[in-house]
């Protein structure tokens, strides 16, 4: 699969995909004779993983470290687990924070809705008054 398709499929720019490869987030993608990237299934799984983790705010650097460990094989499982646990905790914390913020936003939106309703009523009353002229 060539880079444009991957870009399309994951909603990441071509530049971003190349950037990820450059900084070592993804090991060098296989090339065809012409030197053009040809993503295989494994590459796609990696991109998917990265995209997902970046979407939750995991820093690129942490992901680089993690992907590095993956490359080193089974001896690094413990270390990888530690990284994921740490990041999981951070994500869980952010999640909670965002839930509270979401509630707060909803509360405020409701308050604005009530305020607008009240305003409408007042206009209604004014119109009634004016209709009485």
């Amino acid at each position: 699969m060539k880079i444009a398709e991957v870009s399309e499929r994951f909603g990441l720019s071509v530049d971003t995909l190349r950037y990820y490869e450059r900084v070592g987030l993804i090991p060098p993608v296989h090339r065809n004779e012409g030197g053009i990237r040809d993503y295989d299934e494994l590459d796609l799984m990696r991109v998917d993983f990265i995209k997902c983790m970046r979407g939750a705010g995991l820093p690129v650097e942490v992901l680089i470290d993690y992907m590095d460990l993956v490359q080193q094989g089974d001896i690094t499982i413990e270390a990888r687990k530690e990284i994921l646990i740490e990041q999981r905790n951070l994500v869980a914390a952010r999640l909670e924070e965002m839930q509270k913020t979401l509630e707060r936003l909803n509360y405020k939106i409701e308050a604005y809705e009530k305020a607008l309703l009240k305003k409408e009523q007042e206009i209604g009353q004014v119109e009634e008054l004016m209709a009485g002229d």
Copy 2:
């Protein structure tokens, strides 16, 4: 309340507080005779709101626009509501994404735990073998 206390209370650096004021996220804070900031209750509420919203990823620029509208009074209620609805939807979307990522992380962590258990068992077996010598 002086800036250091506010910084302490909200876990924002003094520089960040001043930055927020500079870019118009918070209207100019009242100063005492010496020209030193003295945050009042309203200021604190604003800082709290900003901190909460920033924590959920709302861009500073959007918050500036919003706070500007607040300053302009009741005529802007509709516009403010629209902003909040848009941001609420974005937060909700991010929240969902993060929940999926959290699940994925938990799944992976479990998988690593299983892998580690299996490894331990193998080591146990090896030790049994060695004990038989």
